[in-house]
Amino acid sequence: MKKENTVIVALAVLAALVATTWLILVAPGLGSNEVNMTRGVTQQSADHFELHMIVLWICAIIGIGVFTVMFTSIVLHRKSRNHTPAKFSHSTKAEIIWTVIPVLILVGMAVPATTALVKMEDSSGAEMTVKITGFQWRWKYEYLDEDISFISSLDPNSNAARQLNSGMVPANVDNYLLNVDHPLVLPVGKKIKFLITADDVIHSWWVPALGWKRDAIPGFVNEAWTNIEKPGTYRGQCAELCGKDHGFMPIVVIALPQDEYDTWVSEQLAEQGAAL
């Protein structure tokens, strides 16, 4: 009996150790990995991050509360401690309490959740519009206010490295699978409306730093908007399974200050003019 218990107790201790290691050592950062949602570079992404943290904490506290009671009971109310079982089998009062309190918590959660959602869905007052079309397996961007449009596909280096048994080391490829040949260039500090659609199957346009994803559906035009606060390069991916190369149609957004953006626009127009 004793010997068998050793194995089992060892496994139980191991379980506790694994759990603790997770929570304390691994979770806050394994190497340089991100382990939490990004705060992003838009008001929306910040809102969604705050909302995420609020519900995460509420859930964590509820979970810890429930588990504390449960494990207290597991330690104290065991037969091996000669604990005699109580006889109670219900308590209307207790059951009303733990119906009403969760409802109140939910109402508390619903308030910020509603506010953030209402803000997200208000695309009025946009200063420029970009049409995004998903194809198997690339994106097309059309600047509806300028005469600019181009196709954006996985960059050639990633594409070579991602072939089955290419022998190339992904870590040595610049932004492996998150780099494109023609990034989407946008100005900062401007409310930009996106019209999102698809040509063949459903895709989903997602750049985490902007704070949302929106499906690109053939026959539908979805609306979304952004207002990027900080210049920089932001990367994302198609988020809806769209066939064999679903994992290989990334999105790169380069956000530029207005003057640099204007220069980029005139360069593009000149280039496209020359091409004609």
């Binding site: 979970g63 559906i217 991916q237 290989f248």
Partner: protein, 543 residues
């Protein structure tokens, strides 16, 4: 299955005049033509365990390819076939038939009935399944390959599947027929065959949760059948139900699919709730806390499951009002679910607990299912879901409710009732080793996937940016270990059925309550030929 003859004189309860042990001696008669609820239950359980390993080996392929960045083992299209098949096999081939197997074994014994109400249909609803799944699996060997559009079968993508698609649709139809027949049988049995005194509000929780599950199945399986039939005609007969260019609507498919799909997740979890509500009182030596509210909470969850479907579709571009409604309705589900968890904890509170393997799996269920439930509450928050949707955070969430949720409950049920089924005790030592290694590795497997999703890794991709490498490697290692651990389970079950020398008593467990424990272990081939007298203290509840 033990095939030894039970001698009438060892009967614990008088089964009536005929100590019917009329097991057909011929193998085909016994198994192919059987109408016995116990044999059919066994067939279901063996079938689902087989599917569990087939679906599991597909998961191993997935985790092996995701072990590190770059493609090393399979082409992306085959990877997509693996994710699609893994889900279809696990949902329809492993978890659902396993619950039907337990329903077959247990419901007649729990309500004091001699068998299921419709025994021949029972035979048929099982024997459809091996054919359905052979057909589904055979698509992997066809020229056009198996389905690769995800188990959700979204058009237009799924319409790019080759001719094998017709086989997939027909297989889904057959699974639906099987589920509907099984459900009708369960409902008919519960409503018509209860022993005198077994009033509805005296039934064991497992019977209650299955009754409600059966109604869910009858309501939604035809919806799925209709949806896949429309896909079939779009694919082969030029209809345009879901083709925008022809005036159809691809989003409509998602609405129809999730009208089936959301209740489907409760179909997989409600019987688990029932099992946990049976096991915790036994090993706490204390009645189930709040039986009445448990029944009403289950019914409420089932009702709510019909009106929350579009929370799977927050990113398709619904109007604001729609998004708000589906968010609020989804959040509401956490109330009855919370009642269940609190009642389970109260059942344990002030008990006199022991920790045999079924109890360990039940406690593991309560803890890990709660984690999965809480991440589900997070996913309900629409604006945050614009980030979570279709990432590994979602993968982590539903695997927490399905693996340490449904599957742990299935394990708990197996350890709990296996001595009753076989007449032998399993090895407690190996059961505990199985539990602890499962509990460790399931977390190593799925917990890192929360981080991956939050950091931005989409689901259903065969290759990923090196920033996701560490957690994917940990997750894969956990996956391989979890998979290997399940071989212990097979060993324990086989040992219990064929090798174990320790005979089980009729009660098996010190604190067990319910009619099935008044029968011998194993019960006679035909039990309760005359209905038992249902007394108060035979049941697992006191109120």
């Amino acid at each position: 299955m033990s095939t030894e003859v039970i001698h009438p004189d060892t009967h614990h309860v008088d089964d009536g005049h005929d100590h019917g042990d009329h097991k057909p001696s011929n193998f085909l008669d016994r198994w192919l033509f059987t109408t016995n609820h116990k044999d059919i239950g066994t067939l279901y359980l063996i079938f689902s365990l087989t599917m569990f390993f087939i679906g599991g080996s597909m998961a191993m392929v997935i985790r092996a390819e995701l072990f590190m960045p770059g493609l090393q083992l399979v082409e992306p299209d085959f990877f997509n076939q693996m994710t699609t098949m893994h889900a279809l096999i696990m949902v329809f081939g492993a978890v659902m038939p396993a619950w039907v197997g337990f329903a077959n074994w247990l419901i007649p014994m729990m309500i004091g009935a001699p068998d299921m109400a419709l025994p021949r249909m029972n035979n048929w609803s099982f024997w459809i399944l091996p054919f359905a799944f052979t057909m589904l699996l055979s698509t992997l060997f066809m020229d056009s390959g198996g389905p690769a559009a995800g188990w959700t079968l979204y058009p237009p993508l799924v319409l790019q599947t080759g001719t094998s698609f017709a086989f997939v649709v027909f297989a889904v139809h057959m699974m639906g027929v099987s589920s509907i027949m099984g459900s009708i049988n369960i409902i008919a049995t519960i409503f018509n065959m209860r022993a005198p005194g077994m009033r509805l509000l005296r039934m064991p929780m497992f019977v209650w949760t299955w009754l409600i599950t059966a109604f869910l199945l009858i309501a939604v399986m035809p919806v799925l059948a209709g949806a896949v039939t429309m896909l079939l005609t779009d694919h082969f007969f030029s209809t345009n139900f879901f083709n925008a260019a022809g005036g159809g609507d691809p989003v409509m498919f998602q609405h129809i699919f999730w009208f089936f799909g959301h209740p489907e997740v409760y179909i997989m979890i409600l019987p688990a709730f029932g099992v946990i509500s049976e096991i915790l009182p036994t090993f706490s030596r204390k009645p189930l806390f709040g039986y009445g509210s448990m029944v009403y909470a289950t019914a409420t969850i089932a009702f709510l499951s019909f009106i929350v479907w579009a929370h799977h579709m927050f990113t398709v571009g619904m109007p604001l009002q729609g998004e708000l409604y589906f968010m609020y309705a989804t959040m509401l589900i956490s109330v009855p679910t919370g009642v269940k968890v609190f009642n389970w904890v109260s059942t344990m509170w002030q008990g006199s607990m022991t920790f045999e393997t079924p109890m360990l799996f039940a406690i593991g269920f309560v803890v890990l299912f709660t984690i999965g439930g809480l991440s589900g509450l997070m996913l309900a928050i629409t604006a945050a879901d614009f980030q979570y949707h279709d990432t590994y955070f979602v993968v982590a969430h539903f695997h927490y409710v399905l693996v340490p949720g449904s599957v742990f409950a299935l394990m708990a049920a197996t350890y709990y009732w296996l001595p009753k089924f076989t007449g032998n005790m399993y090895s407690e030592k190996w059961g505990k080793i199985h539990f602890w290694s499962s509990a460790i590795f399931v977390n190593v497997l799925f917990f890192p996937q929360h981080y991956l999703g939050l950091a931005g890794m989409p689901r259903r991709i065969p290759d990923y940016s090196p920033q996701f490498a560490d957690f994917n490697m940990i997750s894969s290692l956990g996956g391989f270990a979890f998979g290997a651990t399940q071989l212990i389970f097979v060993g324990v079950v086989l040992h219990c059925a064929y090798r174990s020398k320790v005979k089980a008593t009729p009660e098996v467990w010190e604190g067990s309550r319910g009619l099935e424990w008044t029968l011998d272990s194993p019960p006679a081939y035909h039990s309760f030929n005359t209905p038992p007298v249902v007394t108060h203290n035979a049941l697992s509840r006191a109120d």
